[in-house]
């Protein structure tokens, strides 16, 4: 019976992933296996030299990663530390922060469209930026829309990390806190020298989850503005090329391979360093 999950895993994960890597070196319109033509590195050459959306998409994916590490990680950790203080209404606050996580990204994109809508949205109505003359187009302006959508992404991700850190904090031995209080450490010293070091396993999970989240970002942007100018992402280019009207499966797979390489380049050094450190200690 143990063979069934293995077969399913190999068929649905490894075969499809490796087939996608293989298809990256071909052109295929997706109709019949006869039309697959080997083209070597042509797809990658075209991608790097003549696709105007490719480098912005790479840049946006990396900005997404940096922004998720810089804002939701410290904020989620901070909120978790505050909520862990045996405070009243802690459950109410936790629910508020976690609520965005239980909604699908499609709903989140739609909700934030209502907030950012240049004519009728909450922000522009409140600051009066929906009249001609001073008009802020949060969704369409290519200098603004990436940051607007990153606010929505951080809004969701902070709640997720808050719960992860809260779970990690529950695992901190109370005797350690007591000992540091008896030694006269103040709140910040206790956190820095006692609590934070014991959170290391949680930090590993949080960073891996954040990297995955940044590189697979797709649905939020697709609902928000279909990945228009300013919010191109590699995942959106993949979709547009493979199930768009062009149906260029080989070319789309080449973009997916670039995304895979970026993921591996980010995650492998991190995991190697983490496991090496864990083995040493």
């Amino acid at each position: 019976m143990a063979g069934v999950p293995t077969v399913l895993h190999i068929a649905l994960v490894w075969v499809t992933a490796l087939a996608s890597v293989g298809l990256a070196f071909t052109t295929w319109d997706g109709i019949g296996f006869d039309s697959i033509k080997w083209v070597g590195l042509d797809n990658f050459r075209e991608l790097i030299t003549s696709n105007p959306q490719f480098w912005p998409a790479v840049q946006h994916n990396l900005i997404w990663l940096a922004a998720l590490i810089l804002v939701p990680v410290p904020l989620g950790m901070f909120l978790a530390v505050q909520l862990d203080k045996k405070i009243r209404f802690s459950r109410v606050y936790q629910t508020a922060f976690f609520l965005p996580v239980v909604m699908s990204f499609a709903v989140i994109g739609f909700v934030w469209q209502l907030v950012y809508n240049p004519d009728t949205g909450l922000i522009n109505s409140l600051i009066g930026a929906n009249k001609p003359g001073h008009y802020i187009d949060w969704i369409g302006d290519p200098d603004l829309n990436l940051w607007a959508v990153l606010v929505a992404a951080s809004w969701r991700h902070t709640g997720y990390l808050m719960i992860l850190y809260l779970a990690g904090l529950k695992g901190v031995d109370p005797a350690l806190r007591e000992a540091s209080a008896l030694d006269g450490a103040n709140e910040w010293q206790t956190f820095k020298n006692v609590v934070f070091p014991t959170l290391r396993p949680t930090n590993t999970i949080v960073l891996v989850v954040t990297i995955i989240e940044a590189l697979r970002a797709f649905d939020l942007v697709f609902v928000f503005n279909k990945g228009a100018e300013g919010t191109e992402l590699l995942s959106i280019l993949v979709t547009n090329n493979i199930i768009g009207e062009s149906s260029r499966i080989g070319y789309g797979s080449a973009i997916a391979v670039v995304l895979l390489l970026i993921s591996l380049a980010v995650i492998i050094p991190y995991l190697v360093a983490t496991f090496r450190k864990e083995r040493r200690s």
Partner: protein
């Protein structure tokens, strides 16, 4: 020597002003977190006619589930959700 009971006492009943500040901060942040959702719910409950005359940011006179019943009926939802 007297520092020991003070440290323990501090842990059990923390400083009130600090707690109040913490509650204000957490309540404010929680409200900010819920604001986009509340905004979406408000937009869903208001009839569009009222919104178009008074503007989106205004106090609602009348809230109803009309938008939901209309969406349910006009999209022929039963056709898709119930097996035939």
């Amino acid at each position: 020597v007297s520092a020991f009971p003070a440290a323990l006492g501090k842990q059990r009943t923390p400083l009130r002003p600090a707690r109040i500040l913490l509650h204000i901060f957490l309540a404010g942040t929680a409200l900010a977190w819920l604001a986009p959702l509340l905004w979406a719910i408000l937009a869903a409950l208001r009839p569009y006619g009222e919104t178009s005359t008074k503007g989106y940011v205004s106090w609602p006179d009348k809230l109803s589930l009309d938008n939901f019943t209309n969406a349910f009926q006009q999209s022929d939802m039963l056709h898709y959700s119930a097996p035939r």
